[in-house]
Assembly symmetry: C2
Homo-oligomer: 331 residues x 2
């Protein structure tokens, strides 16, 4: 058993009293009952996982994990060379990438954590991406990263050239169907690259045909940043921080949690549906509706960050707006 | 001819040089080309209408027009009494309504303008909502209100008990089809109220069967806040301020502009698609895709305000993020 298996035991459940209090208040707010529809439900969800009847998003945080992939170095599955992972990591750290620009508008911090840049995982076509020691080390790094944050909503993002290949392998191994159906163009690979990517996914999934434990599948065909995202998701649950999932890579990263433990993603909402074709299928499987559907396919947490102001508005619409009784009593 | 007819003549066109410059830059930004898809197009659109190659949303403003409707006083077409218009206006002014909470998160100001609270328009079933003098006066108020704003993006909102009835009448008169098909429950009217509402819309549309000028249709079956929204939309065009349209009422208010002058709404984007059933049909007719689709049906500009951070992010994604050349040259 890995460290992530341990952390998955006895997950805290939702604070139903907080959630129900917000549900009741939502029906009394100074606006037609139900006029905010889904946003009221979002506020209830935040309340339940923040464990507070006064849900608020005033300290959102973006946490981006970056790492390199052996499969990308061994066979060209991406439109970009692996060195781009480091370049983008530098941009996050210096506040210059798209996610930083989005976070500035959302009032969020951005923290980028290197979990293996220049230390690629093994080529998943031929062996496990990580041995148990490295997997545990990455999980520990992710828990530490979440521990260091002071936030009320967590956006998880990733950067790693080749990581939509690993994501497709996880999705194919856990959700089944033709492996090729889970493969998209990622950052924009050409037709030949797409063929190589499909082959790589097929080969990887075939290699682990006997593996049934979903966390083991994550270790076998995932990547370091994918394992970190799964671990950070569990860490957030333990610290009463609701999570906003980003696109295909992030969703594939957490899929093993939900297969391993029913309800393990109940504290997660989905920021957007990506243009990467496998994402919509994964969301349907998870039964989660994305807040935004804008054909974005950038990663780095950008689609989730784009949804943060909506979640903040949903909460403010409950916490900062009076009820009819409060308003007419106030006059 | 009314004052609004005059203002509609010789509308400024888009700054295509600014728009094209942003289009070119979008393809060079430090991210996979096309990864932001529609958001890049939004930034181009903002650039074209702000007339700047450096599009930005740092001073968004919400402008809410409020007024009462004779048809609502004469026959119960709303779930709420007409006095609610004043109560909500007070809440906007005191910063306590949902739109204020949303605006605080979007970094926007909120200005509420009374264009006829307690001075209801005439009952549109039997006579013109406004005579030419009142219509011109409201248009003047709206132009003045826009003149007083210092903003780079304008959200238009409305409050007026009974105004989805007026909106349905405008839509039915201009877009055709069964009048009843344009009528929804608004703030949540019951079945009997819905029947009264359908009757009122049918009667109003029948009364103006001979009127073909779209601006005259707005004056005949609209309302004061609807006329103000149409006028403010034109005023914004003249001041190089892109506009975010809200739900059914706002979209119905500006529909006459687009019928009168092709391209009159090119400087407008649509914040969200409302749960009011006629809204989606109107958007299809206008060929506009809503940024959000969250089943909201509140009005007061809330759905448009919810989309403001996305538009700000789209602009920041161009203006605040380096190109590949800038980034790698910087190192």
């Amino acid at each position: 058993m890995t460290l992530l298996h341990d952390h998955l035991a006895d997950l805290p459940s939702c604070d139903t009293a907080a959630r129900d209090a917000v549900h009741e208040r939502a029906g009394q707010i100074l606006r037609p009952s139900g006029a905010l529809a889904w946003l009221d439900e979002l506020a209830e969800w935040v309340a339940g996982w923040q464990r507070s009847a006064h849900p608020r998003v005033v300290k959102p945080a973006g946490l981006i994990f970056a790492a390199d992939h052996g499969v990308a170095a061994a066979t060209q599955v991406s439109a970009y060379p692996t060195g781009i992972t480091q370049a983008m990591f530098d941009a996050y750290r210096q506040g210059r990438s798209t996610i930083n620009a989005f976070a500035a508008i959302a009032g969020a911090t951005v923290t980028a954590v290197d979990v293996g840049i220049g230390q690629p995982t093994a080529d998943i076509r031929h062996q496990a991406a990580m041995d148990a020691d490295r997997f545990d080390a990455v999980v520990g790094q992710a828990f530490d990263a979440v521990d260091r944050l002071d936030c009320d909503l967590l956006v998880l993002g990733e950067m790693g050239i080749g990581n939509t290949t690993a994501s497709a392998a996880i999705a194919a191994a856990l959700a089944g169907g033709e492996a090729a159906a889970w493969v998209g163009r990622g950052t924009g690979v050409d037709d030949e690259g797409l063929d190589r990517k499909r082959d790589a996914v097929q080969e990887s999934v075939r290699r682990i045909a006997g593996v049934t434990d979903p966390i083991e599948i994550l270790r076998e065909v995932g990547g370091a940043e994918l394992a970190a995202i799964a671990a950070a998701t569990v860490a957030a649950r333990r610290r009463s921080i609701p999570v906003v999932l980003d696109g295909y890579v992030v969703t594939s990263s957490v899929l093993p949690l939900s297969v391993a433990v029913s309800g393990a993603l109940d504290h997660c909402t989905v920021g957007h549906c990506s243009a990467e074709p496998g994402h919509r299928k994964l969301l349907e499987r998870l039964g989660k509706r994305p807040l935004l559907d804008l054909d974005m396919r950038l990663g780095e947490g950008s689609g989730a960050m784009a949804a943060v102001p909506l979640i903040a508005m949903a909460c403010a619409g409950i916490t900062d707006v009076p009820t009819f009784a409060e308003w007419f009593g106030e006059d």
